[in-house]
Symmetry: C2
Subunit: 603 residues, 2 copies
């Protein structure tokens, strides 16, 4: 793994493929021009089984064929798909203002992204959302792209025997573009794909697809820089983040967002309220619909793929939080609660929701309806405030759908295990199966410093129950902003949770990787075991700590048990013998015995 060296003052990002991995591209059938990326993990020839194809969210950064220049941004391959639809126009767009970056004068701007692309919008009052196309019976390039991705190169003919409990999810043996269209038309899935984010590699979010994960990045008033944030995005997708939210709240957030989007192959989400608040000097009560609306357009023109909108928190909900142990822990929620109380008026997000829909449909920005009243502690889980807001999110879902807007719903938070399923079931009922997108949930409050784990438990469970995307939590949650290492730990933990959920749901492709790795383990193909792991680097380095010698990478034991006690070695012998000669002869054979335990090196 090397560090790509663009000119010194530009963001340095991590490139190169993962170990033993090759990026392959699968062409479309309906859309010849699409090239869907997958990662193929090569196994040792002795394995006598095909290489393993896995889902690849890492973008061109892991493709040696692609030259990376963060100052130019990624190739804008979606331009032609969008042009072909002939329903959008380019226009001058909104001029960047000093306050967009929290500065007094334009001259203070630190480092704008070098190229400005003219934004695109729907012509007339057209809806250019994937939902509008799906409802019109149109299969888009984005839909075929996402469909091919979901199959991870599996042969359409090979249906695996199902083993799982899906709780009503209906994952097909093979995902077709038509199935993706169906799910989107039904509102059960979304493809976040702003027409101003042509660098995007489209992906689908819904309970009848692979469970996805999101990584949050972004600076705050206290820490971090553009360079760090761009590398955090690249680093997060390298390890498997399917989408990235830029939650920056400090200065220069307009420019940081530009740099991130122009270099991101995954959907980028934001909370526009954060920037709006910066524009009014951080005084919640000074927020206005006009400032907020202007911020939505600013970000839609940049190419943000989904907006977190806290329109479900209403004035009359706020008193429900007064008795809570931890009050309101959503930033957006607390800001809106303060605004509502100060003016003693209904939330402007709620009152102007239809106008927000009109903006989103023009650029295809998906909604991520925010849970401003999510519980911030085990004590507050599943309370009246939380569920009252969820019901409002259900109403808003219907309104957004009426405007052809794509919608997902945000969920908690902090929830003990026995209360998790109620969250999922209530969300499916209130929001008519719109995709659920939860933070964790954390299953206990007593382990700050380990909240990737307290929440990974809850995330795996709610993913199994039907949650479509899991927002990661890093070890720094409640303590500070995650650094690069925290981002990796959070992403790997959530890939584990999402995959454990896919297995439990009975996803037809999920167990292929587990089985390949288990066979490698049983056959002492250490290199294959490392290469098939979610984090090959860590697996290898942990093994090296006790057995660094190259010979040990083929040894028929490891340092856990040592040669004499390797159960796999023994049972491997048992199996081999049994298969050769049957159990009876086997007993005799075993009497001749001999040292079955010695490592390769010694035998």
């Amino acid at each position: 793994m090397t560090i790509n060296t663009t000119p010194p003052e530009l963001p340095k990002v991590t490139t190169d493929p993962l170990p033993a991995s090759t990026k392959i591209h699968v062409p479309g059938r309906l859309f010849a021009q699409i090239r869907v990326p997958m990662r193929e993990i090569a196994l040792h020839p002795s394995a006598g089984e095909p290489d393993v194809r896995v889902y690849d969210s890492s973008g061109p950064y892991t493709d040696p064929e692609t030259a990376i220049d963060t100052s130019a941004g990624l190739a804008r391959h979606r331009e032609s798909w969008i042009d072909a639809r002939g329903d959008t126009e380019r226009y001058e767009g909104r001029a960047t203002r000093p306050e967009d970056n929290g500065r007094a004068a334009a001259s203070d701007r630190l480092r704008p992204f070098p190229t400005r692309h003219l934004p695109r919008r729907a012509t007339g009052d057209r809806a250019v959302t994937q939902l509008a196309y799906a409802r019109a019976g149109i299969v888009t390039a984005e839909m075929e792209y996402a469909a091919i991705r979901e199959n991870m190169g599996r042969d359409a003919a090979l249906a695996r025997a199902r083993d799982g409990e899906s709780f009503g999810a209906a994952i097909p043996d093979h995902v077709t573009p038509e199935f993706v269209r169906d799910e989107i038309a039904r509102g059960r899935a979304i493809i976040p794909s702003n027409i101003n984010h042509p660098e995007l590699e489209p992906m689908v979010i819904g309970r009848n697809f692979l469970v996805k994960i999101n990584a949050n990045i972004g600076n705050s008033a206290v820490t971090s820089s553009m360079e760090e944030e761009v590398e955090k995005m690249v680093w997060a997708i390298r390890w498997g983040a399917d989408t990235v939210m830029d939650l920056s709240t400090g200065r220069d957030i307009h420019d940081i967002r530009d740099w991130i989007i122009r270099n991101s192959p995954v959907p980028i989400g934001t909370v526009p309220l954060y920037q709006a608040l910066e524009k009014v000097g951080g005084i919640a009560e000074d927020l206005t619909w006009e400032v907020f609306r202007d911020t939505l357009i600013e970000q839609a023109e940049q190419g943000v793929d989904y907006f977190t909108i806290h329109a479900g928190l209403r004035l009359h909900h706020v008193p429900l939080t007064v008795g809570r142990t931890t009050g309101i822990v959503s930033r957006g929620g607390s800001i809106m609660a303060k605004w509502c109380l100060h003016h003693h008026k209904e939330s402007f997000l709620y009152e102007h929701f239809e106008e927000i829909c009109e903006i989103c449909r023009r650029y295809d920005v998906s909604f991520s309806l925010g849970d401003g009243l999510r519980p911030g502690s085990i004590a507050d889980a599943n309370d009246a405030a939380q569920f009252a807001e969820l019901e409002t999110l259900g109403e808003l879902t219907q309104i957004a759908w009426k405007h052809d807007c794509q919608v997902m719903i945000e969920g908690p938070g902090h929830v003990a295990m026995h209360k998790i399923k109620e969250n999922m079931d209530k969300q499916l009922a209130c929001c008519d199966e719109a995709p659920f997108y939860t933070l964790g949930p954390l299953t206990t409050d007593i382990a700050p410093g380990y909240d990737h784990i307290t929440s990974g438990i809850g995330a795996a469970m709610i993913g199994w129950f039907g949650c479509a995307m899991l927002c990661y939590v890093t070890p720094k949650e409640h303590l500070g902003l995650p650094d690069r290492d925290d981002v990796k730990t959070g992403v790997i933990t959530y890939k584990i949770a999402a995959h454990a959920a896919d297995l439990a749901k009975g996803h037809p492709g999920a167990q292929i990787r587990d089985d390949a790795l288990s066979r490698a383990r049983f056959e002492f193909r250490w290199e294959d075991q490392f290469n098939l792991a979610l984090d090959p680097d860590t697996a290898r380095s942990m093994h090296d700590e006790t057995l660094p010698a190259a010979a040990h990478k083929t040894a028929h034991f490891c340092s856990m048990c040592g040669p004499k006690f390797c159960s796999m070695r023994i049972s491997h012998d048992i199996r081999a013998e049994a298969q050769k000669e049957g159990m009876e002869k086997m007993a005799a054979k075993f009497r001749e015995g001999g040292q079955l335990y010695l490592p390769e090196a010694e035998s």
Copy 2:
């Protein structure tokens, strides 16, 4: 945290209390001489709430009042309890032999524990097990000790409203010695407490008590030493391990075990088969009942509290494993399978099980009936081999109970989430509610290097469903032997899993710590938040990474959101105002507004 300095060549162990913690001792009512340890975490006076008492497994090492000398071992406070029962006798015991340490001559012995205590055994054919006493209606000091511990200093009068799903577990509001006796008599709980381990601080394992965790330590032929293993034990209990298994398989294991037991306040478990195999040069087929029996007596005299015995794996089960993806992954299981096949005879552990019971009842060594056929991969979970053995373990449970022996049952392994509950339900049914003790289970195979997390998910779930003790898995699982840091990570992860399970089961005392920490979080009592955490050191250091200044330990924000965006700060203001004046006046009040967001430092 300092390192205790006994003479240089002796094990150095970690001592000193955890931050803001005091060890208190609660006296018995029935047994005045017992002093039950608890950890009291002091809160900042501004909290206006009582200090928090938590379960304390760390022993005298965290008690500044106690001088630690590992060469002398811990105080033998149980001697008097055992003497008082008048049903045991001291005797010369078995002489240590060179082969006990895997050596040619006694003179090769590296470092025997300095003091040899004469072993103790039941007089005549008496049963001196806690089960025998419980059945006779006798409440022992061990039972009262364990009962007091379970209540964590809660006021017997204060019953909390229940919130949980217990799946049939019946945890009382307050645990009485009589309740412990009942549960043990019923076979639903055990107190592992060899009469030759008088240094023990007794604890109870059962589904109607707090979920417990075990940490495995032990050297292998490839790595580690006595000094490291003793410190690993002390380190593991510091962070919360309730029992420790010594799985040493290299040389000097008799002496290493002496050092560990003489210095351990928690029950020590072993797999006697490992030492027996060493005695026959590592050749499974050379194992004999005589060698094994001799090893049981050797270890019973040393004070081992529970034995893993793989008597459930029978000759006719072995063919059931031939089609598996990962065969037999239990070391003991594979050794016994090889023995059975070689001789084409029934397992000597199965055939001599009643004699094993006779030994265990004489010293009160509890059984941990081993799952030699546990699945080693998602592919092999819940298969015929695994469940056939579980049914045999059910038979053996009845036999052990007939001999007044205490029993728990070992469980898997690798199991996808949707198959976990079946494991718990089947174990309860087959083994008549004898405590279940599982390794993980791991919910996916694809994350070597992170198997504390893949298994922590399964452990939390099976603990919720009724598993009594969770055997930890460290990040090194499948890759190497855990070092000190891995042990800590494994223990903290499993404390999280066990506590999440207690919460979900509705344990009446579990949420007290979550609530105290959440209030500290909401009130910006950072120090209290760190001190109430499972790992105060890590929580504090992560906070220091971004906000090291002392002033920040009282700041009303953290670096995650910065001052302007601190939702807790805002909602705290909302709540305070609301409580003072009610929502109506509140809105007016808010209009006067002012900078609610500034950190203490600035205001």
